[in-house]
């Protein structure tokens, strides 16, 4: 088991490294102009050259990559005009456009994205599992058909359309904006409510279907028939025995979904004006801000790889039949 975990961790690290190297390579292969963006419209060749030198863009790309990797592991020093800045490991460098440590910018953005995704997840998981359970319990009734039909309808509208409609016309909801939780929990919640409801209710449709299918299978199991034959109430059979078994695959999907959404909250953040990782990476992309781009790639790949790894490991405990070899 330990050997299995170690192998998976090593594999995960190599995936992250490949993602970083590929992003770095793409940046230099594609036409980019980070110094030009900073230089602005009143740019002249001398100023452009000064900016390139200050960002170390005048060094060979391989050297820049090597220094970046070194910084991640042991830290590095940046020297400009007699001023030395030490960047402790894991050093992700300084934003080309803002001159701020990338770790600072990521730490600012991460709570926003996590707040959006977790809040939305609570809503779509709760609503989805509840409605899916009801639909399964009253299978083939008008209630079931209504539930399934509604989820299909919601699923067929593109997410960004729903989000835009909510952002523009649902003015009865509190104005969206991010306030740190520890400063004002109420403002934090009200500022995220519109995003949570949009993300939650649109994704609840999928979880309704997942839960319904899983519940139907669980309610058809022998142990459930046994429970019924012992005279246990239908309510107890469904919610105590059926739901617990049905939840396992749904929770697996939830874990992977959360990881995916943490790295894909761009639409939600842009539309609701929430300064999370998605907006940060979009701005970095538009401004050719390589250090920030690499930082978001690093965070995203670590999250995705970690969640996949965690799910695989948890599964081996949940189901001993899963082979480890």
């Amino acid at each position: 088991m330990l050997w299995y975990i170690l192998r998976r961790v090593a594999s995960a690290i190599s995936v992250v490294i490949v993602a970083l190297v590929a992003s770095f390579a793409l940046f230099f292969v594609a036409p980019t102009d980070p110094a030009g963006v900073i230089c602005g419209p009143r740019c002249n060749p001398q100023r452009l050259a000064d900016i390139k030198a200050s960002l170390s863009l005048d060094q060979p790309p391989i050297q820049q990559l090597g220094l970046y990797m070194k910084g991640l592991v042991v830290g590095r020093d940046y020297t400009n005009g007699g001023v030395v800045r030490h960047c402790a490991a894991p050093c992700m460098g300084y934003s080309f456009t803002l001159g701020q440590p990338v770790t600072t910018l990521l730490w600012q953005a991460l709570p926003v994205t996590v707040s959006i995704v977790l809040g939305g997840a609570i809503i779509y998981f709760t609503v989805g599992v509840f409605s899916g359970t009801i639909a399964a319990r009253y299978r083939a009734t008008p209630l079931d058909r209504f539930t399934v039909g509604t989820s299909l309808l919601v699923n067929s509208i593109p997410y960004f359309v729903v989000a835009l409609l909510v952002a523009l016309y649902a003015t009865f909801l509190p104005q969206s904006g991010y306030h740190p939780f520890f400063e004002n929990p109420l403002a934090w919640a009200s500022g995220l409510l519109a995003a949570w409801l949009t993300l939650g209710l649109t994704n609840a449709a999928s979880y309704t279907r997942y839960s319904r299918a899983s519940m139907i299978e669980a309610l058809g199991q022998d142990y459930v028939r046994t429970a019924r034959s012992k005279g246990i109430s239908e309510r107890r059979v469904v919610y105590r025995h059926g739901v617990r078994a049905a939840l396992t695959p749904v929770v697996t999907i939830l874990g992977l979904d959360i990881a995916f959404q943490l790295t894909n909250a761009l639409f939600t953040e842009s539309i609701f004006g929430l300064p999370g990782l998605g907006v940060l990476s979009l701005r970095a992309f538009a401004q050719y801000d390589l250090p920030v781009l690499l930082g978001t790639v690093l965070v995203g790949s670590v999250v995705l790889v970690s969640m996949n790894l965690a799910v695989d490991i948890v599964y081996t405990f949940l189901d001993p039949r899963v082979r480890l070899g």
Binding site: P31, D33, G36, V37, S95
Partner: protein
Amino acid sequence: MALALAGCGSPSSKSNSAGGGSDSQKITTAQNAIDANAKGPAKDVPGAKKGGTITVTAQTTPNTFDPTDVYYVDSNEIGKLLFRTPTQFDIREGHPTLVPDLTDVGTPSADKLTWTFKMQQGIKYEDGSPVKVEDLAYAIKRSFAHDVFVNGPTYQQQFFKDGDTYKGPYKGGLNYSGVETQGPDTLIVHLARPFNDLPFYMTFPMFTPIPQAKDTKLDYKNHPLATGPYMFQAYQPGTSLNLVKNPNWDPNTDPARHQYADAFHFKWGGDAVKLQQAALNSAGPDATTINYDELDASLIPQITGDKKNQLVTGQSSCTIVVQLDSRKIPLEVRKAIATAWPYDSDFKTAGKNDYVAERASTILPPSVPGYQKYPPLPGLSGTGNGDPAKAKQMLQAAGKLGYKLSWFFDNTTPLTQQIAQGRVQALKAAGFDPKPIGVSTAELRTKTSDYKAPVNMGQSPAGWCSYWPSGGSWFPVLFQTHSIEDGQSWGQLSDKALDEEINNINNLPTEQSQPKWAALDQKLMGMYIVIPRYYDKLAVIQGTGLGATTGDPTMGMPNFLNMYVNS
């Protein structure tokens, strides 16, 4: 993607404010003004009230608040809330008037190579410590550390004594011959050559005092010491900035600023149209919000009735052009290009409207002293859709029918592709052979800044904004021989007589140079080296809970110093 807000200029009438009333108002001609005797407190804004928080939104993030590194108009304008400088602009009736701020407006020596500035006493930083004249000198020295602070302006390197060799205090030490202090209140600047506009240049944030002991170098931008009416409370780089009142700012010493609101809350990011719509709707906290992104054309139909009062208009200091390479295109052909140019469709295709831009016919925009509205030269009125038949005749007469024209354009966005197509059609109809070269957005800058590239028009800079409101920040930069090597040439002129003429005008006192700049403007336009497109204007939206906001023509931004909450 713009870090660079290329300034918007907006025309406005006397009020130059929100509620300027009707649609696009023409830019008014600026008058040059220096009020050397101005004293604090600044004249009250009619109807202004104290209190409340003003929220300011924009899509683009200011890149820094280190005063030495400030370059773009957004951080420059916000900097006026924080940083007092030797001199400053007081915006009066929409026009900038140079006034004393921390020092007087300066006294030049007879040979104009030494300027003496007397500093006010009793000024304090936000932490209550006194501002010393040595701090002013240190800030000037710090501005020479250009490899540390790469964004800041560099005129001091050209004009200050030994400015080309001194590398700032971190590398070059504190001994610098270009600046000295005498006693507790005298700052002396030594120049390598005359610089009549120095008092105007001293309005830049890089001249705000910085105590050497509190210079945290590259971290200074995260909390620069304030001398202005507001100071940092909380800053999330790239996202938000909260400013609160500076308790150690004394209005009686400041002729240019006010402290009406209790706080400013800046929020960056988010979609510009959505932010403008929110300000227009003015629901809840949006009522005390102003968004300084350029007014989006899609919102114009909503600006009627009472909503007109939410439109803030003002001047800017930018002229946008297409330049013609005089080394490659003969004069007669350049005249034919101007005759054929589709100004109206070009303006419309670019998504411009009369709120955010005004048709240009001169080099200097009207908001800059030295501008004169002379009758447009033939083909250079900035209006109309060209006369292809006449242009063709001109080409035939010159024996240049089928003349090849080439320029670079961004072929990755529909807008720039459409603009290029429109120009191709118009020039073809006039008998030219246009061959524009499509490049990616990232490559465009490199290509258009290469004056050796195989094109003959459309090179950069495609516009210019004043560093300060004077012809001195235009003509010496753009039209002398060195401008080609500097990569900032309009028309690629190389004429020693013209170089000398410009230097002579630039050496004159401000009031004498203005009419000469105007004459030179007309002369240069007569060389047909630029196709004038438009002057930028300021047109932004604010909520109903804010007082009548004016524009700052030196930056093309709302004048934060005069803003107040009305509700």
